[in-house]
């Protein structure tokens, strides 16, 4: 089960009793419980025995550990939620244990994708894993709270790198298969298809980093877990900010329950998302979209361009559609998730494009890569030139965004392509600012320049998708040459 039509329908329908029947004070608990259950329900089946149960459980373990590391022990609010935190821990553990009881239920009545592991074994495993993680954290925190944050952060980054690097993921898959007595020769990266982990990891890193910087507000365990695994944004984002999410979460009890306006907003947004994803994007995917195979098979540059444009629009409508659905579902449950897209293909500069494409990811990278890196370079004794600082920071930021999609050379190249593009645009706009301002006095010229800028930006972005699509740099470069009539 992934975020398909059935899941969207179930979540949409669940909003009705949630809003109309549930007492307001139980809403936050309902979102917590619903989110915990949903991560098991949405997880696709995995070939390794029990992996599709263990990975969502690991998400919860990691989330609790991360919350523990980001707690503010001296904070009055943090201290005030101790009882709630304990209840939350019990609720989450009970839900996981309860889900494992589905082992004894017929397959058609399970919400887990496969037969869960033995409950006793699960409880023992959870206790051991929890104790081990707790001990590591305790030992680290004894040497200062920073160490605890660093340990969890490094663990999240290590897991992220393993999952996003095909050979590493395959090696871990082979090791895991050896433990379960399964055929090692069948191991692949797909063995570890850990649903939503890309988003979970960046949410966790955001809270860990903000805690390091001292700007993360005190969050209860219930708020924290629901923020990280909130069902609407679990599979395809957006990457919300914890304090923003907590703002909505805390006022849930005073949100009007069966509010017609909210439901109209939410359902309209879901309908728009469904149309974008399941009508436009899926239609484009049927044949009007470049694929690795068709890029090699195309016999003319013109049609290669047509398919590449199809791919560009497919990506936008697919991801944009999912975002609309996520936002719409969030609205139904009283959580306003942040926007992720703002007509990106209509922007007239690459900078504006990145302010409107996957905005929550680019904001994350701006906060946690660009700003710290550029400030760090600015404060060095060997301070490089401003242009070099901008180039390095932009390259690093965009390469991180690229590698977030997968640790491959082609995603690296895609990130570098945009990093260089942003740098060149910055240099260009710095040098032509007076000239472009002067265009205001000549509306015709301004319109023409806007059209040229839009066209150039769109071409740059669309050509860049070749890096994104192709499995390796060589094929990407070959396809790019063929777009321009070379290498046929």
């Amino acid at each position: 089960m992934t975020f398909d039509l059935r899941a969207i329908l179930v979540l949409g329908l669940a909003a009705l009793p949630y809003a109309a029947l549930l007492a307001a004070r139980w809403r936050a608990w309902a979102l917590l419980a619903g989110s915990v259950l949903a991560i098991y329900w949405l997880q696709p089946p995995l070939p390794i025995r029990y992996a599709d149960f263990i990975l969502p459980t690991a998400t919860l373990l990691l989330t609790v550990a991360s919350w523990w590391a980001t707690r503010k022990p001296g904070d009055a609010r943090q201290a005030g939620t101790r009882r709630e935190d304990l209840v939350t821990l019990i609720v989450v553990a009970a839900l996981v244990a309860g889900l494992s009881l589905m082992r004894f239920v017929e397959a058609e009545y399970r919400i887990t994708v496969s037969r869960p592991p033995d409950p006793l074994g699960l409880v023992a495993g959870l206790a051991i894993a929890g104790a081990a993680l707790g001990a590591i954290l305790w030992l680290a925190q004894k040497r200062g709270p920073e160490r605890g944050l660093a340990v969890v952060g490094l663990l999240v980054i290590a897991l992220f790198v393993i999952l996003k690097t095909e050979p590493l993921a395959a090696a871990v898959g082979a090791w895991w298969r050896s433990l379960t007595g399964q055929d090692i020769s069948l191991a692949s990266g797909a063995d570890l298809n850990w649903l939503g982990f890309s988003y979970v990891a960046f949410r966790l890193l955001h809270t860990l980093r903000d805690r390091q910087a001292g700007i993360l507000p005190a969050l209860s365990l219930r708020e924290y877990v629901t923020y990280v695994v909130f069902f609407a944004s679990y599979t395809a984002g957006p990457i919300d900010r914890a304090e923003r999410f907590a703002g909505d979460f805390r006022v849930l009890p005073i949100v009007k329950g069966p509010d017609a306006g909210r439901f109209l907003d939410g359902l309209t947004r879901i309908a728009i998302g469904l149309f974008k994803k399941f009508v436009i994007a899926d239609s484009l995917a049927q044949g009007l979209s470049l694929s690795v195979a068709s890029a090699a098979q195309a016999d003319s540059a013109l049609w290669l361009w047509v398919l590449l444009y199809g791919y560009a629009f497919r990506l936008y409508f697919d991801f944009g559609g999912y975002t609309d659905i996520a936002i719409g579902i969030g609205v139904l449950f009283g959580i306003r998730l942040p926007e992720n897209f703002d007509r990106p293909y209509l922007k007239t500069s690459i900078t504006a494009f990145w302010q409107s494409w996957h905005m929550t990811l680019s904001n994350w990278a701006r906060f946690y890569v660009f700003t710290p890196l550029s400030r760090w370079m600015l404060t060095r004794s060997w301070k490089p030139s401003p242009a070099l600082i901008v180039l390095a920071a932009q390259l690093a930021t965009m390469i991180v965004i690229g590698l977030w999609h997968g640790i491959t050379w082609s995603f690296f190249a895609w990130g570098a392509w945009h990093g260089v593009g942003l740098f060149v645009h910055k240099q260009w706009s710095d040098r032509t600012r007076r000239w472009t301002r002067g265009l205001s006095a000549r509306p015709g010229h301004k319109r023409a320049w806007t059209a040229i800028s839009w066209f150039a930006t769109l071409q740059f972005v669309v050509i860049g998708w070749v890096w994104f699509l192709m499995p390796d740099v060589q094929q990407a470069a070959q396809t790019m040459l063929r777009l321009f009539g070379l290498g046929w």
Binding site: I215, P217, G266, Q286, A298
Partner: protein
């Protein structure tokens, strides 16, 4: 809602970043409070006056509109009309053969049941050129070109030959075969093609014994899903076939609505979309890397369809009435019937069987009956059953290699020119 944030552990260079984030956070929390208090989630977009009455009114109107569209759709049954509207031959080039494919992602092709859409997607839907001698080729998977690229099919090889008739017209062959063995399927496509195709000069109809048994005639799902077309042919030509075959799909009113026909509508759209990949690549089939060759050794098996032992087949046992209906349906357009080449084995028990399809007794009798029917009815007939060397067959006894198809095409082209020059 009040929170305290502790910046004391922040480094100097992080202070600006912290300020940025604090400002954002403050705005976010204020907005969340505001939304919660008003019960709105998109300030300025939703009117505070939005009520359930309004929402239910919108839902009711939408539902009524949806029902009305479905009722009109069911009443008009516009699928075939919609099928004739095509991006092919306008925005993307027409296909070289009829759409067929189970894996659109690889073959850039798909199977559907909408005959007008299938023909509209074919280059045969283009107007006939003044100097063209238009040849329509119908038939089974061997003629369609299973495991072959378009240029290697029978039609492709004929066109590559650059044949010209005595009066200077260039022979242009159109592949209207479809990969299922049934003469009734051929007849239905011939009927559809002659209705919509511009002035064919000749119809070439390669056949093999496997297309003749009565039990094969109504097997293809393409026929089940075009029940009215098949019934009209059965009734019109008094074919010895069951017009009330339970496999015919007869949708009820609900089945004729947009909801009921959603799969057919989706396929119609899908056919248009895959046209772009077809245009870009010229590929319309997925050829597997490894092909298992046709069987050469056989058990001592003399059965063929319902016949466990050899019998003396008669014309009524095979669907010669369907073949005759095809020739009649073509009207003034000449029809060249071709007994297509097949693999002749020399392996174990090849004294009993020619190949995995045919025991010798059945095929020999079929050839006798076909030759006799052609002679009696004055049909143009070409028998090339063992004209191709055994090594030129691929996975079945009737699927040819490019070289085999080229040899077959030479024989057919000679017969085409003979007919054209009469």
């Amino acid at each position: 809602m009040e929170e305290t944030t502790d910046c004391t552990d922040a480094t100097d260079e992080e202070v600006h970043e912290i300020r940025d984030i604090r400002v954002i956070r403050g705005r976010i929390l204020a907005a969340a409070k505001s939304r919660a208090m008003t019960g709105l989630h998109q300030q300025g977009k939703s009117e505070p006056s939005t009520t359930w009455r309004f929402v239910l009114g919108v839902a009711l109107k939408a539902a009524l509109l949806f029902v009305a569209c479905n009722v009109v759709f069911a009443a008009l049954e516009p699928l075939e009309t919609l099928g004739a509207i095509s991006l092919y031959n306008r925005i993307v080039p027409g296909r070289e053969r009829l759409p067929y494919g189970e894996n659109p992602a690889e073959s850039y092709n798909l199977s559907l049941y909408n005959i007008p859409a299938m023909i509209a997607s074919h280059r045969v839907a283009q107007p006939k050129a003044p100097d063209e001698y238009r040849v329509l080729i119908i038939g089974d998977s061997g003629t369609w070109g299973w495991l072959l690229d378009n240029e290697d099919t029978l039609a492709g090889q004929i066109n590559a030959g650059g044949y010209v008739t005595a009066d200077g017209r260039r022979v242009d062959a159109y592949n209207l075969a479809y990969p299922i063995m049934s003469l009734t399927k051929d007849l239905m496509l011939l009927d559809a093609a002659t209705r919509s195709v511009h002035e064919p000069d000749l119809i070439v109809w390669p056949v093999t014994a496997e297309s003749f048994p009565r039990d094969r005639q109504l097997t293809p799902p393409l026929l089940h899903n075009n029940a009215s077309r098949v019934r009209a042919l059965i009734d019109g030509y008094r074919l010895n076939l069951d017009a009330s075959d339970p496999r015919f799909v007869e949708p009820d009113f609900a089945g004729r609505t947009i909801v009921g026909q959603r799969r057919a509508l989706a396929n119609l759209l899908r056919l248009q979309w895959v046209g772009f990949s077809w245009a870009a690549t010229g590929i319309d089939r997925a050829i597997p890397g490894e092909v298992t060759l046709r069987q050469s050794d056989f058990d001592q098996d003399l059965s063929w369809h319902d016949y466990k032992e050899p019998v003396r087949l008669t014309g009524d046992d095979l669907a010669f009435d369907v073949l005759a209906a095809g020739v009649a349906r073509a009207g003034d357009v000449p029809v060249l019937i071709v007994n297509e080449p097949m693999y002749v084995s020399s392996g174990r028990n090849s004294n009993l069987r020619y190949n995995s399809f045919y025991p010798r007794w059945a095929y020999d009798r079929y050839r006798e009956l076909l030759a006799e029917a052609a002679r009696k009815n004055g049909w143009r007939y070409l028998d090339v059953w063992e004209s191709i060397a055994p090594e030129e067959f691929t996975d079945t006894p009737v699927h040819l290699t490019p070289e085999g198809a080229a040899q077959f095409a030479q024989r057919v082209a000679a017969a085409i020119l003979e007919t054209a020059n009469e």
